[in-house]
Amino acid sequence: MSSIYDLALSGVRLNSYVEIIDCHAHMGPHGEFHIPRNTPEAMIRIMDRIGVSRAAISHCISLESDFRLGNALVYEAIRKYPDRFIGYAVLNPHYPEEIEEELELCFRHYGMKAIKFHQTLHQIRYRSDFERYKPVLDYAESKKLTILCHGTPSLKKLEEVASEYRNVNFIIAHCGSWNMREDLEALNVAERVPNIYVDSSGSVEWYGAFEKVVAKVGADKVLFGSDFPWCNLAFMIGRVLFAKISDKDKMKILGLNAKKLFKI
């Protein structure tokens, strides 16, 4: 069989050779800039060009305005395309009175598989505000769920939380392309804490950085994430497809690790 590098150079759809699950995708429009073709159908067409089997999605409406409406829209997508999308429940701690009901709705009725925190857009400070996630963390602990965390401020706090909630797997987003001369704290934390992982997203693609991320934290701790359609899926998967790492490691990153964390 050809290597993933050779297959990518040839431009073939990759799903016949490797199962690809995008652990970090979105859906819907964004106020700050234009996100074209952000509907489920348009996204599936793009995924099919590359051969991405499934994408785990949270809705931009959940991140920027109404978290509950966004979750309902994700539910519509996963109900209509259950084999293509995996649902993230977005919980906004600024609405504590609605969290318990939304958790039940998302996991008992909607069939979501994991939780997404967006501390930046929800303006949650790690050190002083993280306690506001406690009801969600308690729920995730009881259900052994995975939580995708945007951003990397105060990794010390996340490390403390991950040590307390040992049944929860945390994915730190946007770690795929560190330039390796600035703050590596996220990678250090992922390296030493068993239930902390990183995803490959991050728009700035420093030369050679992805290989260094994999070498530092290990291929078992890295998941392919694109931030698509916020970013370009084909662009973001390139760093994995063309990385100078083994095909065995690429297969873990492209899908096997996500299957384990999402229990699919």
């Binding site: 800039f33 996100i35 074209p36 001369r181 420093w206 359609p229 370009n232 497809l241």
Partner: protein, 262 residues
């Protein structure tokens, strides 16, 4: 797929930088080795010293450093010449010299070099480039896409394209978050182009090809600072025709270079 498409990278630098990411190449032989891995046939290169210290002496060093590397095509960095930093002989003589030695593409760093792109500052330089149809690469030092909002003076780009309709303008490393400003310009100006090194808008290549034409896009990577993997993968897996991929891959840049009037 790539066997049918020549790749001519319009956005490459050689030379040492003050800040270097670990493992980042800077020697021509190492750049060529990266090109081999990513199947890039040729590259338009400038010297990092030209950004860091201005055109002199980086342009001359670029020529000597790339001598013997047929796949590395030199591209000179320019400045408005009011301070005499470009040439003591004036802009016209400088451009004539540049063309005489076979350098047919120019590059500017208006953000790092701290000058205005208004006509009163760059008009003379751009008029001379326009006279010869010399392509002008514009590098605004964008690292993260959010900087595309404020580092690129969008109204100046409008004025340049309007005032110098025969000047091929190529924006480098434009982020994917600027469609609300980029699209009205692409709709108005045939002489406006961008490289795809960081244009990460979802289906962005497809939309530009459909709405404005593939001739506006050039293959570029930003290596060795940035990885060619993203732009290469995006071109390969884009939902555009093989003809459009060939145009973006190399033909558009080749056409611009071949249109230079010596």
């Amino acid at each position: 797929m790539l066997k049918d498409i020549e790749l001519f990278d319009c956005n490459v630098t050689i030379g040492r930088r003050a800040a270097r990411n670990p493992g980042c190449a800077y020697m021509p032989k190492d750049i060529v080795s990266i090109m081999d891995y990513y199947r890039i046939d040729r590259a338009l290169v400038s010297h990092a010293m030209c950004e860091g210290n201005g055109p002199l002496p980086g342009n001359e060093i670029l020529l000597s450093d790339t001598a013997g590397y047929d796949r590395l095509i030199p591209c000179w960095t320019l400045l408005p010449n009011f301070t005499g930093e470009l040439s003591e002989d004036g802009i016209s003589n400088f451009i004539d010299k540049m063309l005489n030695i076979g350098v047919k593409v120019s590059k500017i760093f208006p953000y790092y070099h701290r000058y205005h792109l208004s006509e009163w500052c760059t008009g003379e330089l751009f008029s001379k480039l326009e006279e010869h149809r010399i392509p002008l690469l514009m590098d605004f030092g964008i690292t993260h896409y959010s900087e595309s909002e404020w580092k690129i003076p969008w109204n100046d780009i409008y004025e340049i394209c309007r005032n110098h309709k025969n000047l091929p303008v190529i924006l480098l490393r434009v982020g994917g978050n600027v469609n609300r400003k980029l699209f009205p310009l692409l709709g108005r100006f045939e002489n406006l182009h961008l490289d795809i090194s960081y244009y990460i808008s979802n289906d962005g290549l497809e939309i530009i090809c459909e709405e404005f034409g593939a001739e506006h896009l050039l293959f570029g990577t930003g290596m060795p600072v940035y990885s060619p993997a993203g732009p290469l993968s995006m071109l390969i897996y884009s939902g555009i025709s093989a003809r459009e991929k060939r145009a973006i891959g190399s033909e558009n840049l080749r056409r611009l270079i071949n249109s230079v009037i010596e």
